[in-house]
Symmetry: none
Subunit: 210 residues, 4 copies
């Protein structure tokens, strides 16, 4: 994770650095991404880079954390907690997220890049995983408290299954021909899949997707 010094930079510079790095990582994946290229595009010296970050992995971690924060912030947790119909609200949440992903093309790429790292990135990604788990745990916990989400399956298992399902849809989206229509359909189906996977039995009518 970035050294404390990194926070002393102006917010603009900080954001620019993470921005450019995000583009590279998202476009090429962690391994194929080139630190050199990132720094060149940034006009940042090698020395400076290693002054702020501990290396390539550390920069990657910072980038992904920032992206994760964006996702966390895009959800109105209080509203979700208080919503009368959990699944209806989830629908809103996912629509918001899919808009976020549509606006910031790098998010999907980063998600893919993280998935790639697998077991390899030992320490660097621990914070990322925590963050990711936070998101799902929070979301599923709320659902469970409402009795909307099944409790016959470990949270982490459900989380990974959902996460994977979303990534699969993302991959479909990426390779689909007619982009606009597919994007909408994919987003709608994602909600449907999520509900089917997570809903506790007997919660309500079988199929809410019109």
């Amino acid at each position: 994770m970035p050294r404390p010094r990194f926070d002393k930079l102006t917010p603009e510079r900080r954001e620019e650095i993470l921005d450019v790095a995000a583009s590279e990582f998202a476009a090429r994946g962690f391994e194929a991404a080139s630190l050199n290229r990132i720094l060149e595009r940034l006009g940042l010296s090698k020395g400076a880079a290693y002054y702020y970050f501990d290396g390539k992995q550390d920069l990657f971690a910072a980038v992904v954390e920032a992206a994760g924060q964006k996702v966390l912030d895009a959800v109105d947790w209080d509203r979700l907690e208080g919503a009368p119909d959990f699944w209806l609200e989830i629908d809103r949440v996912l629509v918001a997220l899919s808009q976020l992903f549509a606006e910031d093309q790098r998010l999907a790429g980063l998600a893919r890049a993280v998935a790639t790292m697998g077991g390899r990135a030992s320490q660097a990604l621990s914070s990322i995983n925590e963050q990711s788990e936070t998101f799902w745990e929070r979301l599923l916990a709320i659902g469970r408290a409402r009795g909307a989400v099944r409790d016959d399956v470990p949270t982490r298992l459900l989380q990974h299954a959902l996460q994977g399902m979303f990534q699969g849809i993302d991959r479909y989206d990426t390779t689909a021909g007619d982009e606009r229509r597919h994007g909408q359909l994919a987003s709608r189906m994602a909600v449907d899949f999520m509900r089917r996977m997570s809903e506790s039995a007997g919660t309500g009518p079988r199929n809410r997707t019109p």
Copy 2:
């Protein structure tokens, strides 16, 4: 894809080559895998390698295709087609597959490696994608013919969603602590998720998982 010459090698050598390469690709992903390391471990000269394969990507494609074939072969398609209860048979199929994955640890790694390549590997992976689509299309087509699989969603979208879900579960499996018990649970849950995602409405009782 490997040059025709490759097929002239003894089956043992062929398998050994694909085996070692599979280990490397599965363990590190495509980008981070080192062709050098593979050849070194094989005692194969660089020249020979390029005599049989067109390059790193080509070798990767061969490795993945062989793995894919294993998966295809693990399914008894005729039996699936004739089974009285589709979902019951699917359960058997997935159990078989999860055993296959458990036995050959590299399979999951390869699946991850393929997922990683994303758009980058253009031509080299076309055959792989075909193979993968073949598997799912076949499976879903049978399910649809039986009226067991919903038809309100494009096959490819469903395929990707399912594929991603399984990968998510695999990732859960990989990082879970108590391996044995989790593996079984995960496998059982995978069937449940798949059924929930794919089942056509009104097919039967809501939740078959006891």
Copy 3:
């Protein structure tokens, strides 16, 4: 030079081999040309290639010699010897040659490739140089016997200067934009340059080019 065995091949095969090799050498120059690529395109095995030729240089020599023979054969030496006006006949000769070069695009490329080798190709090119010298010596000797070509400069020097000049024009031709018109102009100017360089003083009017 090709081993005697080479002559035992059918003329068609012989020509095909030299043809394909000529394309490669002409297109890439000697160093960058790939023997592998040539053999692949020919469907000729490595073993066979080394059975007929002594190696890359040897093949190159054979290719160039064949090309040189074409050039030698394109000149009607008897007619040149008996022509009433030497320079008028040279004009015809050069037009014929420039047509030959226009028809067989590889000739110019080969000429360039030979020029490249410089001192390096020690033995392999000796025959080529002999051939080349034969051409010019013959041509200049006739001109001298007629009193049309100056004799205050060593033949070999004149030869190299002329050869170089032609190559220069060839290079101009290659890079010129409007191909058709330039080709004609270049060919016409080549004769003019050659005459100016070679004509003995006081042979006639200053400028025959209309």
Copy 4:
């Protein structure tokens, strides 16, 4: 072309680098030259090389440009412009150049190397071609302004023909046995050839070479 950083090296180091590289390129031509060998001889690490240059072609371009500059600097343009007898002055210029080439053996080799690249080196050699054209355009423009150089032929055509002729003489020079005497003769003849090729008709007596 070398990155700006290259100019920050000490002049000595800069010259040494270009020197060693020039030797290799001149001796073997571009394709056969080995970047590895150059760096080894220089005691320069690969990384450093690519820190200063963009690659082999880039280094080559730098080498040739430096050489070209030497040639341009060897001509006293002002004096040529003001000389009472253009061709007499050209004689001086060419003698100076032939001395330059005699002193720096690599120059001719480099000229040959450049000629070799032909169409292949697309962008890398654009600056070199400009430089070369500058030299000839300048020289011929002065001659034309004086009425000494014919204007019935495009400058670039004349330029290439002259350039080729000089290279031919250089090749003669290289392969000639008795070096000293030939060199002088060749230099003298080069002037004669150039004049014959370029002189506008009716400028003066037919043959100035005694």
